[in-house]
Symmetry: C2
Subunit: 419 residues, 2 copies
């Protein structure tokens, strides 16, 4: 099988090198040799540390007749989609790690791939075989819920904040120094990357359509040391979660930081690692853990897809159990969960009574309350509340009202609680 | 696809009922209906809670021509092997959860299954798709090491001992009361069950031959409250581990209780849950977590195998990468690891010096030492040692010498340390 690698960065170089280094077991397992024959790069002057021939002429490679499978690692949405579409129309097979392209074009790609194979294991969870688990390992189950830690950068930052009491900016700086965060980390820390991956998983489990713009996405940039203080005191861990679950006849999708019980298995997924819990009606909870990024780890998933193609394993691509349970997206306003509220106030008589009144008047019932011991220097004190399950719109209204209340300093801050 | 279920106990009943309850998604995913047409039981008088026809005439079912796949859930080794062999010879496909049969006859079964499909996902880790992960998800990797918590009964007992300071017998009693341990729990608590599963995994990863009798198997029955005390004090967790790893040109297989770092992801696998860490040369560590037993969970894996058969996914069964790296078993005497030693002694002058001399004379170097504070009533005191990596034979010799030393009470107790 002859393979062209579109985009020879860290992952592309690992794919080429592992196909050569592990050629023995790979051909034994695939039943045939899998040969990387060409790599496409933008800048030919940079050394990629690979021994395969490189070219900067993408179109000529897309036009070649001697390529069986194209491995798309260019990144970006539209240019990648154009390149992949072109070869799929010629009946060529494609393997990709490009979750952004899938987040916007997955169903169009599914149509184009009807007569060929399209592998995207590497698009979620790096080398963790989560797509295969969902499509094949759990194929007997109605998937009730997927809860994933899908972004290693955010998870590293939050783990640092929990373990070392670093504030967000110190933790981000450390992540950047270690190469775990990019110079512009927005995409990772604002939840976009996790949202793209969540759309891929929910399309398999529920056949959900929709783009990132259609789902709730919150980042981790506003998490403060006070939130960490509360989480530790109440035995929670703060994680950036990507959640897809069945809610009535709809699929509820959301990406946001969440307080989870410290004994939840996902609470143990630390540093840059990823972990995905899947709840099936027959199996119950199973969890998949591993490196969510990195050249060799991601290449492991890309090559597993290539080997599956040689084995002729044909599995449906997305929403493969529809029309049985293809679900529409739940409107964001209908989301109901538990909440944590941090309210900074002037420390004077009657404040707590006033706040709790506002809450009950807006049908929010308090589950727990903590007033952080205030040291003399501080002019203000911070109140922490957790609520029972309630409507997000009610919580937002309470935050609006409190923000306008004279003894409240700044807008209250909210984190969802996932139990 | 017409399925016969040989053995309609908890798992068999779940297979029949889930195939009917989830028939919609299962046919959508399989591309055809998967229909349980008959179940074989020993005792027809007992109600199995299934709606499929039952019979106690195994042979007549094995002789039927209208069965496409046989699901073997009879348990036992030879009778199951005879039944499965008979239908495989007729070119029928088989799905089994029977690890004992596989531990002794897996390669014979592989030969017989040449022209049909043979699924055994349910034989290890209950519903966790670990076999699929090893065969397909990690197919780009040289598997360097597999470390598994593969027996839920033992894990529940050890978790109880760690969490509640119960002694072994109290924890076992509780496990039995909750139905997590059988009236005769020997097979689970002595490591046999985990060893059978380990042989299945190592056959996939390394193509290893050999029976349970050929590998190191130790149970958890001698773990004492003092060992728990030490483990907590030194931030270890005690788990029954099943380990398969490459050691030079050999495969090192062993099942035994082990001290592992409390931050190891496997340390978080509590209660009856199973967890398997797999280390690949490309991927690094990935871990798979879920219920290792139970009717519906195990049925989830059985049915996933059935769906794979309808999809025509043909993957090699065992040692599928041999001859590239089929490994012979490492002799037990060649195992080298770190050790924990518990030595009960008379509390008098010079004892510690004498013991440490014996150790150094036998080329065992001490990594850490703890003397448990002795309360006045006690006549004896307990010394705890951990060693650097050394040969098991040297540790055994030291234990022999100490056992014969007058100030030492009872034979010293040893637990391996896995880091």
């Amino acid at each position: 099988m002859r393979v062209a690698i579109l985009g020879v960065g860290t992952v592309g170089a690992s794919v080429a090198n592992i196909l050569q280094k592990n050629a023995g077991i790979i051909s034994a397992r695939a039943g045939e040799k899998i040969e990387p024959v060409v790599g496409v790069v933008r800048d030919l002057s940079r050394d990629r540390g690979v021994s395969i021939p490189l070219t900067d002429d993408l179109q000529s490679v897309l036009d070649r007749d001697d390529i069986d499978v194209y491995v798309e690692l260019m990144g970006g949405v539209d240019s990648a989609f154009a390149a992949v579409s072109k070869v799929l129309k010629k009946g060529k097979s494609v393997v990709t790690a490009n979750k952004a392209m899938l987040a916007y074009h997955r169903y169009a790609l599914e149509k184009l791939a009807k007569d060929s194979s399209f592998g995207f294991e590497a698009s979620v969870g790096g080398g963790i075989p989560i797509i295969k688990a969902l499509k094949e390992g759990l194929s007997a189950n109605h998937i009730k819920k997927i809860v994933g830690i899908l972004n290693g950068t955010s998870n590293y930052i939050l783990t640092q904040m929990m373990d070392t009491n670093a504030d967000f900016h110190e933790a981000l700086k450390k992540a950047q120094d270690l190469g775990y965060a990019e110079a512009d980390p927005t995409f990772d820390i604002e939840g976009q990357d996790a949202a793209h991956k969540l759309l891929v998983l929910s399309s398999i489990a529920y056949g959900t359509h929709g783009n990132p713009e259609d789902i709730l996405i919150k980042g981790i940039t506003k998490i403060s040391s006070e939130d960490i203080f509360f989480a530790k005191d109440f035995e929670y861990v703060i994680k950036l979660l990507a959640i897809a679950k069945v809610n009535g006849d709809k699929a509820e999708l959301r990406v946001h930081p969440a307080l989870i019980d410290k004994d939840n298995i996902l609470a143990k997924v630390g540093g840059v690692m990823n972990g995905i819990s899947v709840f099936g009606d027959a199996l119950g909870e199973s969890m998949y853990y591993g490196p969510g990024a990195g050249g060799d780890a991601t290449a492991s998933a890309v090559i597993a897809d290539l080997i599956d193609i040689t084995r002729g394993n044909k599995n449906p691509m997305l929403g493969y159990n529809s029309p049985v349970n293809a679900l529409k997206l739940l409107p964001i306003s209908d989301i109901r969960t538990k909440y944590y509220l941090r309210v900074k106030v002037e420390d004077r008589v009657g404040v707590l009574a006033k706040i709790t009144n506002v809450m009950s008047e807006n049908s929010i019932s308090i589950d727990s309350f903590l007033q952080k011991p205030r040291n003399k220097e501080e002019k203000y004190t911070t109140l922490f509340f957790t609520t029972h399950t309630c409507k997000e719109s009610d919580v937002k209204r309470v935050m609006d009202i409190l923000e306008r209340t004279e003894f409240v300093v700044n807008r209250p801050f909210m984190i969802r609680i996932e139990s």
